[in-house]
């Protein structure tokens, strides 16, 4: 361990683009990188390249608020996210990099009976599927977050909460770097600042990609481009039921510890936690209109601040240090899309990560890699195929998403 502390080894190498890869992954975020990592780990002979139009982790991977939890609503969602949480628990060890995954727990606050109803549905299903998740009383909430205000007559009273102890927060950039380093060491080529500008096809068969650095042939192309998925889909003329919405968040200046868990309120569209460095991270629902723009807005900053103060009035004097925006590929049922696309060969989608992608990255990459290598759809991702939208098999994860401000 000590030797690693003083290691100055490069995290990843600089590569020259080749003319052919067995697999080209578009998107150097957590999903693309974890897919590459597991592909190379399972089959070292594969020639895999990951391409990103910007730096590694420039998209949602570097802009999310890094919460990891499994307290979802549907059996499909719970099983999938719990498998991811379990991988996260071992991931620092596996990747040999401290991802700063701190399991500080999660409270989903209910202010009304109807929210408690949804929270109970989650706690019951979670428990039945082996995920630690309990509906707790206001006093129990207070014991976990002494800063919470239980006085009567206040708007948005605390009526209870869903407590999910194994949830936590990781350093999102470290997850990107960890997978990138692991992929690199297993022989994957990482090509940041290499933009895919087209996908080449022969008939229904995808044959490669056109990049800002030239044409590359590929045996299989995987799109893992989150908010830009619809732009990739346009390149091969397929329809994906995705609308891209911006999602904004901000951090405050570092403060001495005051909140030791992650708190969220669906009714207030807000969530708050404090990093190890003391900054409060505050996020909320997606913007009200779809766009690919990464521009932060004053309006959303004010809305986030207002809602945060409604949850914790003592934050009035905390100062916002920086606000930022990511974009999210929202699906109608708030669940992802993983797998091949009917009518297009040698192509695979990994998208629909909306506001829940970061926590899913390990299991998404692992199952996508298994799917590619075995040709068989792993049970965990069976429900998440694209055809579900055409066959009426949607998965209702809306009530578990804090971002459910739209529709």
């Amino acid at each position: 361990m000590v030797s690693q502390l003083f290691s100055r080894q490069r995290f990843w190498r600089k590569q020259e683009l080749s003319s052919y890869y067995d697999i080209v992954i578009i998107g150097g975020g957590v999903h693309g990188l974890s897919t590459a990592y597991y592909l190379a780990k399972f089959d070292k002979d594969l020639k895999v390249a990951v391409m990103d139009k910007s730096y590694l982790g420039a998209g949602a991977s570097g802009r999310n608020t890094a919460i990891i939890r499994a307290n979802y609503l549907t059996p499909e969602g719970i099983a999938f996210m719990n498998a991811s949480l379990k991988l996260y628990e071992q991931l620092s060890g596996e990747l040999g990099l401290n991802l700063l995954f701190s399991q500080i727990g999660r409270l989903d606050i209910g202010h009304t009976e109807s929210t408690l109803f949804w929270l109970r549905q989650r706690s019951e299903y979670n428990q039945l599927m082996g995920v630690e998740s309990n509906l707790i009383t206001p006093d129990e909430v207070k014991a976990i977050v002494p800063e919470i205000d239980l006085r009567e007559g206040k708007p948005f009273p605390i009526m209870g909460a869903l407590h999910h102890p194994p949830a936590g927060v990781a350093r999102h950039d470290a997850v990107v770097w960890g997978y990138a380093r692991g992929a690199d060491r297993n022989g994957v080529e990482l090509h940041p600042f290499t933009e895919v500008i087209g996908i080449t096809k022969e008939g229904r068969r995808v044959t490669g990609v056109d990049t800002s650095k030239g044409r590359v042939k590929a045996g299989l192309v995987v799109s893992a481009t989150a908010g830009w998925t619809s732009t990739i889909a346009r390149m091969i003329d397929i329809d994906v039921p995705i609308l891209t919405y911006p999602l904004q968040a901000f951090v405050t200046e570092p403060l001495k510890p005051m909140i030791d868990t992650t708190i969220s309120s669906g009714e207030l569209h807000t969530y708050i936690y404090q990093t190890e460095r003391g900054e409060l991270v505050i996020g909320g629902g997606v913007d009200h209109y779809p766009t690919y723009s990464h521009k932060s807005t004053l309006h959303m900053l004010e809305e986030l601040a207002t809602n945060a103060i409604r949850l914790l009035p003592q934050l009035r004097g905390a100062k916002v240090l920086r606000q930022w925006t990511g974009i999210c590929d929202m699906t109608p049922d708030y669940a992802p899309i993983i797998g091949p696309v009917d009518g297009v060969d040698n192509f695979m989608l990994n998208c629909g990560w909306g506001t829940w992608g970061f926590k899913a990255a390990p299991i998404s990459g692992k199952t996508t890699a298994e799917l590619i290598l075995t040709g068989k759809v792993p049970e965990l991702i069976e429900p998440f195929d694209l055809n579900r939208f055409y066959e009426g098999r949607l998965i209702n994860e809306r009530a578990a998403a804090i971002a459910a401000a739209i529709h």
Partner: protein, 974 residues
């Protein structure tokens, strides 16, 4: 504990901001400090002899004043309970309570500073490389790190009690950001050309850096400060200019919206055009121990001397890469500080450089081609060492000077944040050694120091040109001659400046020491940055995230320039290739309270609300309304409705008035049922689905006349439904008019066996079953008030919904209570209503349905009319119909005494979740638990048995598809 008064200040000056005859007292920790009105906390403490103001974030090293302009982390303090306040910007007030932060037990003796000795174990990214094996180690370490991290502690009571700030919304033709020479000139030129100008400056007085600049800086042959005060006076007096002082632009947002933080609250300023005269920030040099208290930026020192008349030290060493250091040295001399030497990285300087000549004439030692390599001292400066530069690196030819002050100038970082937020192109100018704007637009134009020209004459000309150009763009008559004349003058001035400018970036020598700080906020050293590049983080965006450089309280204001230089040096990329980090808002930190504004909370209450309060109702919030949950025991209330008569205030129902030739066609299109064939005077239940055929809302549709419908929606959904109607009206080009009259009408449901007798006492409308059938609507008088009566039965009893204009709601409510007294009438709340409707198996959308529930899943096939042609959701519904129902909503009745909760799970025999309880209650009629469950269609059959998990234990329940109460609807029609 002590009492501190001010050490002698310098002789009074016209530029000083202090009032020497007015004393103010503040508390600093346990000390009492007396200072002058007009002092900031920083100048007050400095003047009383304090030199250490804070402790570093990571190593807890002692830190003193650095920039004195609110752009560095060194003077962050806790003031009146609010942490991270910039002491150098905050003017003192009587009784103000100032405390240090992030040090224990005291600022001078901070035990955490032991960490400084462990620096060898804490290289860049050390936390990524350690503490994760074994796994448990991290949970222990992270808990410890959490305890020591952070800067100030937020005092909950002080924070919550901060005054409410209101937001203001303003518009202007031209917003000028920055009140220095460029901004003032721009404002004046634009205003004189006939446009309205709003000038914003973050200081309390106009003038920008000329307020504290050395007097040798001249403008048109005159001392620049005199020129600037004349200009300021003109601008302030101009009728077309609004000046907003103490106002910080926190960001430039889309469509030229400026967010401006002021002591009076946040201003949203929308400008047709912006002139960015935002100036620049002097930045530090990197050398060993460049963070000691007493190492300051030259402009910081000039502010102390000229604005607060403080003598900053006894002996100073000046280190610079440009002309600025010399002006600082001149001010130091004037303030009676001995200048030991000036180390200038430039090998030579111009012979006509007045400041240098004057300094030499005063016997100051000037050392060209020298860089400072280290400061001496442990907490405060006691000396400095400079070395001759050869081949861009410091040599061992060193000279040591004793001093208690080091004035440094590492050049300038343009304050170009609003330009970058506007996507103005920025390119590196190697002659200036600065990034400069290389494109502009009519929306935003740069002027002044932000362009890289550090010359008041150039600044005023750039300002004038920007002001004239903007006025012309906005349609004003500006003589072409005037513009071209200024252009020529400016070109000459710029050329003259460019010919003379000399800048030489300081050497980068990571071997020269481990305490060369690049980022003061995060304690990132030169060695850290160099190592980060070596580990492969070769682009500035990933290196920023790996090293946390630029991510602290100053957001890169002090370190960004040097950061780019180092990355460029280490990677061989040009500064343009290195680029910059993103200029994210807010440009200066702003409190959540300022952003939130008053945050009004709107509670919706019905006009009868006060009656409910008087009756002792328990109020709950539902769908944005405050409603009575119950007035006592909900079971008693439910029983009263079943056996006698009850009334409930249902004014919260959404109410839409739909009129027009195609009103029926509209309803046919947005509801699954058919309404064009509904006869006037009749009411029909309506289900509304989204595009995919899943349930959005339900309600009742009453046809009043051929071309008029009256629709109720569920409480929370009326706005959505209204917009939904309007969307499809536009899309389908349907001639109809939708008016939301929710607030205009009160609605009361009177229901129960004695409802007719009660209502009959008040109305002339014939209520007999054959005259007023179930699902009919009639108008008439109730208690002398014009009313609309709908005979519907959500709670399963014979009853009427009485709709009256809101102002009569309370009167009707009272009249009904009086009329029903003899029958034992009882008001009932939402809880009793929920029990009653559940017994009758009437759904509540979004309680008993979710976003995937189709009408078929709730056995409402009868409400879907495929034969009427295309309608919203018909495609999805056809697919759903073909696919068949998978999960069905069914009734269940518990076999034992357990009563499930809303949200409990239905489990398979093997204990896996297969369904959910959407609504469950104890039935007052049946005496058992019952409700609605959504289960797989295989088990959701009449006579089926399901397992329900209640508080962890599985219980048996019987499934039914028929309502528990009055399954044939006899009572409804009675």
């Amino acid at each position: 504990m002590g009492r501190y008064s001010q050490l002698p200040r310098l002789v009074p000056s016209s530029r000083e901001l202090i009032s020497r005859n007015k004393m103010v007292e503040l508390k600093f920790g346990r000390h009492t400090v007396e200072a002058f009105e007009g002092d900031t906390i920083a100048s007050a403490l400095y003047g009383a002899g304090f030199r250490i103001f804070s402790r570093g974030f990571k190593y807890h090293r002692a830190r003193g004043l650095l920039c004195v302009s609110g752009n560095c982390p060194n003077c962050l303090m806790k003031v009146d309970g609010i942490p991270n306040v910039r002491a150098c910007l905050t003017r003192i007030e009587q009784g103000m309570k100032v405390e240090h932060q992030n040090a224990w037990p005291t600022l001078n003796r901070d035990l955490f500073s032991l960490i400084d000795r462990l620096d060898w174990a804490l290289p860049i990214g050390f936390y990524y490389k350690t503490m994760h094996r074994p796994r448990a180690l991290w949970s222990i370490s992270s808990a410890l790190i959490r305890r020591v991290a952070g800067l100030g502690r937020l005092d909950s009571i002080a924070s919550e009690s901060l005054p409410i700030e209101y937001h203001r919304f303003q518009q202007t033709n031209v917003a000028v950001v920055g009140g220095g020479p460029a901004g003032l000139s721009a404002a004046l030129a634009a205003a004189n050309s006939g446009v309205d100008v709003t000038l914003v400056d973050e200081q309390s007085t106009l003038g920008g850096h000329l307020r504290f600049e050395n007097r040798m800086r001249t403008l048109g042959g005159e001392e620049s400060r005199n020129v600037i005060s004349a200009l300021s006076a003109k601008v302030e007096a101009h009728e077309r200019v609004q000046v907003i002082l103490d106002a910080t632009v926190i960001g430039r947002y889309e469509d030229n919206l400026l967010g401006i933080s002021t002591p009076g609250g946040l201003i949203h300023l929308r400008a047709q055009s912006i002139i960015a005269a935002t100036g620049s920030l002097e930045v530090p040099l990197t050398f060993e121990r460049n963070d000691l208290a007493g190492v300051m930026l030259g402009t910081g020192i000039q502010r102390l001397i000229n604005l607060y008349r403080l003598k900053p030290g006894q002996t100073a060493l000046v280190a610079t890469t440009n002309d600025q250091g010399y002006y600082t040295a001149l001010d130091l001399l004037e303030a009676g500080v001995r200048v030991a030497a000036i180390a200038d990285t430039r090998p030579e300087f111009r012979s006509d450089f007045d400041a240098a000549v004057t300094l030499k004439g005063n016997g100051v030692l000037v050392l060209p081609g020298h860089a400072i390599v280290r400061a001496e001292g442990t907490r405060t400066v006691i000396g400095g060492v400079v070395a001759a530069i050869e081949a861009d690196m410091p040599t061992t030819k060193e000279r040591q000077f004793d001093c208690d002050l080091i004035a440094m100038s590492g050049g300038f970082q343009p304050a170009n944040y609003i330009l970058r937020q506007s996507d103005v192109g920025i390119g590196f100018d190697s002659e200036f050694d600065e990034p400069v704007p290389i494109s502009s637009s009519t929306a935003i134009r740069p002027a002044g120091d932000v362009t890289g020209f550090h010359n008041p004459h150039v600044a005023t000309l750039q300002g004038r040109l920007a002001g004239l150009s903007v006025a012309k763009t906005l349609g004003m008559q500006v003589p072409v001659d005037t513009i071209s004349q200024v252009e020529v003058e400016l070109r000459n001035a710029e050329t003259t400046y460019r010919d003379k400018v000399q800048v030489r970036p300081a050497p980068i020598d990571s071997e020269a020491g481990v305490k060369q700080f690049v980022c003061f906020c995060e304690d990132v050293t030169l060695k850290d940055v160099v190592q980060g590049v070596g580990e492969g983080f070769a682009d500035i965006q990933t290196l920023k995230r790996y090293s946390t450089t630029t991510m602290g309280p100053c957001q890169g204001k002090m370190c960004h320039k040097r950061f780019v230089e180092i990355v460029s040096d280490q990677t061989g990329m040009s500064p343009d290739e290195v680029g910059s980090t993103t200029a994210r808002p807010p440009i200066q930190p702003v409190t959540l309270g300022t952003l939130a504004g008053p945050g009004h909370m709107a509670w919706r209450r019905t006009p009868i609300h006060n009656r409910h309060l008087i009756a002792g109702a328990k109020i709950i919030e539902t769908g944005g309304w405050q409603r009575p949950h119950s007035y006592g025991d909900p079971h008693d209330e439910a029983k009263a409705v079943r056996e006698r008569v009850g009334i409930i205030d249902v004014s919260t129902l959404g109410k839409l008035d739909v009129r027009g030739l195609d009103a029926g066609q509209l309803l046919d299109f947005v509801y699954t049922h058919r309404f064009s064939d509904l006869r006037p005077g009749r009411v029909r239940y309506g289900l509304m689905t989204g595009d995919n055929g899943t349930i959005m809302d339900d309600g009742t549709v009453a046809r009043l006349t051929d071309d008029r419908y009256y629709i109720t929606t569920s409480t929370a959904n009326v706005e959505t439904v209204e917009q939904w109607f309007k969307w499809w009206m536009a899309d389908r080009q349907i001639c109809a008019h939708v008016t939301n009259i929710t607030a205009g009408y009160c609605a009361i449901n009177v229901a129960g066996p004695d409802a007719r007798a009660t209502l009959a006492k008040l109305t002339d409308v014939e209520l007999e079953p054959k005259k007023f059938r179930y699902m009919q609507v009639k108008s008439g008088q109730v208690g002398g008030i014009p009313a609309m009566l709908l005979r519907i039965g959500f709670v399963g009893e014979s009853g009427w919904e009485i709709h009256v204009p809101s102002e009569y709601g309370e009167e009707i409510w009272n009249a009904l209570l009086t009329a029903g007294e003899e029958f034992g009438i009882t008001p009932f709340g939402v809880e009793a209503q929920r029990i009653l409707r559940l017994e009758k198996m009437h759904i509540i959308p979004s309680q008993d349905t979710d976003i995937l529930t189709t009408p078929f899943d709730i056995s409402a096939d009868w409400a879907v009319k495929f034969d009427k042609g295309d309608f919203v959701g018909s495609g999805g519904l056809r697919i759903a119909k073909e696919r068949g129902v998978r999960d069905i909503l069914v009734g269940f009745k518990m076999r034992g005494s357990a009563v499930p909760n809303d949200g409990d799970a239905v489990v398979s025999e093997s204990g896996l979740p297969i369904g959910r309880i959407t609504s469950a209650r104890l039935s007052p009629t049946m005496g058992t638990g019952f409700g609605y469950a959504r289960v797989p269609v295989e088990v959701g059959v009449e006579g089926g048995v399901i397992h329900i998990r209640v508080n962890g234990i599985n219980h048996l329940a019987d499934v039914t598809l028929r309502p528990f109460y009055d399954p044939d609807g006899v009572r409804l029609r009675e």
